[in-house]
């Protein structure tokens, strides 16, 4: 793997830290007039997803991390792995439950997901920002109700539970923002 110095630090650069690939979010040059120069860096650990601040001496060197994002379509799960396919090359790749994490509840067949690969192996799977899912269970709401009364919980086909307005009924398809887990609207017919 390539070695880089702090002078190559910039937002988006991927490097290895404590055996974990990290993404640099921000880099600031710090130097007292009479003193050592430092790089103060904000970075995201790509497996634990933690954001942290680190300070390095300017002459330190690092290993770059072989990290790339690819857009793949979700196919199916065999219970142990979740399988994705590149729609151009038809190449398939399997992600384990650690990579899927909490996003399991937003996986919809054929949806394009962003898969982050480290040394060719998926480490995170990000669903599209919006998904459309059918409500499999919710209490009947009151007729004539409009949004804004706090709503009611609804269970979707993937097991995700979101709050929906009272007028939305079981069997309907709803659009959900996967980043916040919030109901957006009824799906456009």
């Amino acid at each position: 793997m390539a070695t880089i110095g702090t002078n190559e630090f910039k937002a988006g650069l991927k490097l290895m830290l404590d055996g974990e690939p990290c993404n640099i979010l921000e880099n600031e040059f710090v130097k007292p007039g009479k003193g050592q120069a430092f790089s103060r860096v904000r970075l995201r650990k790509l497996i634990s997803n933690k954001v942290l601040e680190k300070t390095f001496k300017s002459n330190e060197t690092f290993e770059t991390a072989d990290v790339m994002d690819v857009e793949l379509a979700y196919l199916y799960s065999d219970g142990e792995f979740w399988h994705f396919m590149n729609n151009d090359t038809f190449e398939q790749i399997a992600a384990d439950s650690k990579a899927i994490g909490d996003n399991l509840k937003w996986l919809v067949e054929n949806n394009l997901c962003t898969i982050t690969l480290w040394n060719g192996i998926p480490i995170t799977v990000s669903p599209p920002n919006f998904v459309e899912l059918e409500i499999v269970q919710t209490d009947p709401g009151l007729k004539g109700d409009t949004a804004g009364t706090g709503g009611k919980p609804a269970t979707l086909t993937t097991g995700a539970v979101v709050r929906v307005p009272l007028f939305v009924q079981q069997g309907e398809i709803v659009k959900v923002d996967t980043r916040s887990g919030e109901y957006v609207s009824r799906a456009q017919k």
Binding site: F29, K31, K34, G35, A37
Partner: protein, 325 residues
């Protein structure tokens, strides 16, 4: 960005007008006090040995000699100005360009404007008062605070930088999230500098400028040691809103002590794999002939203007930042 926009100044024209007024104020300040303006070379035969400064060097092809000489762009006009003092100039000031390689960022431009002045018969306390008068007039602040380096550390990090040992310094660094850095470090001054710049500078200078003085003897640079307390040097710095604005000394005038410090620097340079720098023999010869007792200070003019005009990046007060210089 295309050249159609890149050719334009990195500072707004109104900022450049304000900048010109501030420079005028500075010249007026020294004219009123009868301090002579001087203009010393930025291109010289020697440079600084300081481990943390990188001078630009270039090759001079002399039309009158077959010998090719290496010349350095000055990181500050300090040596030349002290040679003038040794020659009997009396109080002098200079507004000049200084050059430092390997420095760029929000507060750093590789070429910048420095205001440096020297006051015979002043000590660092008298000079701090004068710096305060000038800086507060430009920044529009009432006055400046004063703390010793030791007080600043004890107040903000509950740590005595002069008396505690390396093991407790490392523990402090670990508790502040610098574990890896602290474990690998053998030089206490690097860790002290880091803690100082990240946790003390911003804390002491938010509401008014603040002087810090009596730096540890190991960070004396070109200051004399305090005769009553050899643990500290008669050096001061000025900070405002977390920005380092000035560095001053009650000047070291002992030529053999100065030579020893240069040689010590070069020894350390050799140890860490940096090129050694030929010591400035003109400067040392001048010291040997006698530097009058004096105090001197260097102020980062671009930073002073940034703070006076509330700019976030140094290039916003430069006609052209280095990126489109």
């Amino acid at each position: 960005m295309s050249l159609a926009t890149q050719w334009q100044p990195s500072a707004k024209l109104d900022v450049l007008r304000q900048r010109a007024l501030i420079i005028k104020k500075i010249r007026q300040f020294f004219a009123e006090r009868d301090v002579m303006e001087v203009d010393t070379p930025t291109l010289c035969h020697a440079s600084v040995t300081d481990l943390n400064l990188r001078a630009f060097s270039c090759r001079f092809d002399d039309p009158l000699s077959p010998v090719v000489t290496q010349l350095y762009l000055q990181t500050s006009p300090e040596f030349a100005m002290k040679r003038l003092l040794c020659a009997g100039s009396g109080a002098i000031y200079q507004l000049s360009k200084a050059f430092r390689n390997e420095e760029a960022g929000r507060l750093h431009n590789p070429e910048f404007t420095m205001l440096e002045w020297y006051r015979p018969d002043y000590d660092h306390f008298m000079l701090m008062d004068e710096v305060e008068t000038l800086a507060c007039a430009i920044l529009g602040t009432a006055n400046a605070g004063r703390l010793t380096y030791q007080q600043a550390f004890i107040q903000h990090l509950q740590f005595d930088p002069l008396l505690e040992d390396m093991a407790s310094l490392k523990r402090l660094c670990e508790s502040r999230g610098y574990t890896e850095l602290a474990l690998a470090e053998t030089d206490p001054d690097i860790l002290l500098n880091l803690l100082f710049s990240q946790h003390i500078e911003p804390a002491i200078s938010q509401h008014q400028p603040c002087f810090v003085y009596d730096f540890p003897a190991s960070q004396a640079a070109l200051a004399r040691l305090n005769p009553n307390n050899p643990l500290v040097a008669e050096r001061f710095e000025l900070y405002y809103r977390g920005v380092e604005l000035a560095n001053g000394f009650h000047e070291l005038s002992d030529a053999s002590e100065q030579r020893r410090r240069f040689e010590q620097d070069n020894k350390k340079r050799h140890q860490v794999g940096l090129p050694t720098i030929a010591v400035d023999e003109f400067f040392l010869a001048a010291l040997e002939s006698g530097l009058p007792p004096c105090a001197g200070v260097a102020v980062g003019v671009d930073r002073l203007i940034m703070l006076a005009l509330d700019c976030q990046h140094i290039s916003q007060v430069l006609a052209f930042g280095y990126a489109n210089a």
